[in-house]
Symmetry: C2
Subunit: 189 residues, 2 copies
DNA sequence: CGTCTATTTGAATGTACTCAAAAGCGGTGG
DNA sequence: CCACCGCTTTTGAGTACATTCAAATAGACG
């Protein structure tokens, strides 16, 4: 298992070396080439995915226009899953695709459930992950609902400088819910 | 404690009669008159609130225009809390206000934590609540990002007929992120 | 009724979009 | 090393969806 994720967990939860060993056993490494899909619309998100290195985008396909609408990005040390589909094991409405060659750590839903029974302290860790995600979504809703495109872009640059540097502007435009042409006009200032 | 909430919990979690008794002890009833606040911007959401009867709105104040922007509604059998603020005990950016006379069941954060230690099965119940909320937020983001005002309004009517019947249109307009005038024009069709 | 709040209507305006085309940029191969 | 290709970004012009402001109308309630 990856040391970075382990450290993250141990920062929140105390683990015996035996538990640490068990924990590691549940996760498997997976690699994706640029352009490959981790999840497609209609499929169930069967694993929770931690990004070791690389970059991915999650998007929704507008059924009327066929356009991709970016919902979130994921890079090193982020999670790249449809948590709602993963937790409930129902079909996802997202697509998640590698934007660069990517290395992941995966845990299948069944393993995840078993792991939580074996190491119940982890409930706390994953609750905190869920809460952080919740906070991110709340923030995104407010920004989209309340502020104009320029304000959203500036907030984005401040909040996610690493993402802004790593993904092309036309994807960032979609995430911010503006057209690429209009984002370009915003950037001129 | 209120029977309806108890039934909801027991539908998901097995409880001994002793546990049921302990559980009930943690919750307190609270009433709000129409117009009173449950939470104001900058305050910490210190309790989780289950609505027994009545109706509330949660909104964000746009710091530039001073406008209320509705984030969610809550009626009977819903939760009316800023979960993010409640879980992390950090200041909320929301206001939550009674739109009708309202009766709530409240549990303070400290009690909530104690309760989860005493009755660990409840972890599961509250995880499920959190997940449902997550699903709602995801849906809202996609609707706002992808579909036009008419589509959002029709989806809203279908998803939340009880809310649509209960709150004035100018609040629903705010929730849907359109002006009340424009919602009125949409409704003409 | 009269008053207060909510909804509707009209007209002018604006923010952001679409479509089309040009320009920039990076890699690859001749 | 330069030419070409594909992809991303920029620019321009016309347009649309939705807003704002103002005023009229409709509803609810004491």
């Amino acid at each position: 298992m990856n040391q970075q994720l382990l450290n993250k967990i141990k920062a929140i939860v105390a683990l015996s070396s035996e538990e640490e060993r068990m924990l590691s056993g549940y996760w498997k490494e997976k690699t994706l080439k640029k352009g490959e899909y981790l999840l497609t619309n209609g499929a169930i998100c069967r694993s929770d995915n931690y990004v070791i290195e690389g970059a991915l985008k999650a998007y929704y396909i507008n059924s009327e226009t066929g356009n991709e609408e970016i919902l979130f990005f994921a890079i090193e040390d982020w999670w790249a899953s449809d948590l709602y589909s993963f937790q409930k094991q129902i079909p996802s409405i997202y697509n998640i695709q590698a934007v660069e060659d990517t290395k992941l750590l995966q845990i299948a839903n069944e393993s995840f459930q078993k792991m939580l029974v074996e190491i119940p302290q982890l409930e706390r860790f994953f609750r905190i992950i869920l809460e952080s995600y919740l906070g991110t979504l709340q923030r995104k809703i407010i920004l989209n609902q309340v502020y104009d495109a320029k304000h959203r872009y500036l907030d984005f640059l401040e909040q996610y400088p690493l993402i802004a540097a790593r993904f092309p502007n036309y994807l960032i435009a979609s995430y911010l819910n503006v057209s690429p042409e209009f984002l370009s006009r915003i950037r001129k200032k």
